[in-house]
Symmetry: C2
DNA sequence: CGATGCCTTGACCAACCTCAAGTGGCGTGG
DNA sequence: CCACGCCACTTGAGGTTGGTCAAGGCATCG
């Protein structure tokens, strides 16, 4: 199941220090690293520490000093915020090539992040990373572009959380997963849901029961078919896009 | 009413080209411009066009080519997104010193923005603005910091829209306004609501009726008192913060 | 002084939540 | 190999919050 989330032909020796790990990284062309030339990668490699997290393990904790940033090289991470009484909002799922650590206040991480599936990340000390900006202004420029994209996505999500009903939310979620799969040259009709219904609910501002019922409605309407608990086949992406409001 | 939103002692000649408008700008120390030395301001002044918008007038339209960025020097702006059927989510209210134009895709503005009150803005062509980055890297760095803050705020808002009930949302909204007032050295107990109930509803993911009812509940509980339709006195900020979940 | 726009309030309704029971896959241990 | 327990998910019944529809109040403005 996890393999289907990963990019095909991912190099297994990506973190072997002798061979220049970054140069062989499968997500090299997708992550922020892509702005650096091959010859510039040693500067990045010098400050990167590969880490692994098992499902449920924390990557960062709300309130921790925000000392690191991360690049996800494999697996799925969820980022979230809590209310004092435990209510949770998942602000985003992060997949390979995604960057973690953008939104941050002076007071430390304003959110938590933990592994959904077994995940591999490149950990970089924030100060080390920012020290590269002077040498590689394009890195900073890329980060700004990334922040802008994130911001646009965040606003999409406000629209979803503030104004969409359950059906529209779930449809939007599925369309997003399908589009991501397509971008990674994977079949956009066979979507994997590595996260639990509870996670999806906390992402969409619903309860797990409503998510489950909504999947059933979509199944009954023929838009989707369940293959396994975590695998969904999309029969009618157009119908889903229609529900999602054509915004993506 | 508008005056109470504005910074005290704002220089009226802020856009007089002969005197170096930016140097005399009341919000100079608050906006992104603050990273530039006085001697560097001419580069900024050369590309700035002051504009004025009456209440309800558009600043940017969803889908327009995103050719400009803006600094708000006076008044209040709302940024929003629409669903095809007209449902609206206000993603943010922008006040003086705030920057407009961060979140943007290649396809143009992903949101609309229009004046809530009469507003004054510094309009800057995007290409002109970004051309300054090479000369003033600190400007870009400031923008990145701004984007990060925005992102953190956006995530707060997801938590609000996804997981808070109406009372918590309105309380959070009021606390935010009070804190902003305090930051501008204005009485934090007398809060002005320049926007309509409909705007507040679209901002909080509620209906105008629910917003109105919630104000009434807060009034009945003694936490707030209505002075005028757009003025609210906060009697018990601690109670509001408590409802808001201590996140601000 | 009437018209208009915005807000408040009430009655009713529906979407979603809560609580609860039941299903099915999977791993473990007898 | 099968029984069991566990966990995630599904489904149902009923309740609650907030939405919908409608009426009325109260400023401002011509």
């Amino acid at each position: 199941m996890l393999d289907r989330v990963s990019v095909k032909n991912r190099c297994t020796s990506q973190h072997d220090p002798r061979t220049g790990p970054c140069a062989h990284c499968a997500i090299r062309s997708l992550a922020i690293c892509s702005v650096l030339q091959d010859t510039e990668l040693d500067a990045l490699e010098a400050i990167v520490t590969p880490i692994v997290r098992e499902p449920g393990q924390a990557v960062v904790r709300e309130g921790d000093r925000s000392s690191h940033v991360f690049n996800i090289t494999a697996g799925v991470i969820k980022a979230f915020k809590h209310l004092p009484d435990g209510r949770r909002q998942i602000t985003g799922f992060l997949f390979e090539a995604d960057f973690l650590g953008l939104a941050v206040g002076d007071e430390g991480y304003t959110y938590g992040a933990e592994a959904v599936t077994k995940a591999e990340l490149c950990q970089i000390r924030r100060t080390d990373f920012e020290a590269l900006f002077d040498r590689f202004p394009k890195l900073e420029r890329r980060l700004l572009a990334l922040a802008r994209d994130e911001l646009a996505i965040a606003q999409e999500k406000m629209l979803l959380l503030g104004r969409m009903d359950a059906l529209e939310r779930v449809a939007t979620f599925l369309v997003g997963l399908a589009d991501r799969a397509a971008r990674f040259d994977m079949p956009a009709t066979d979507v994997v849901l590595p996260m639990t219904r509870t996670d999806i609910a906390d992402y969409l501002g619903l309860t797990l029961e409503t998510v489950s019922r909504t999947f059933s409605r979509l199944r009954n309407s023929g838009s989707i078919a369940s293959v396994g608990r975590q695998d969904i086949r999309i029969n009618n992406i157009a119908a889903l896009r229609d529900l999602a409001g054509a915004t993506g």
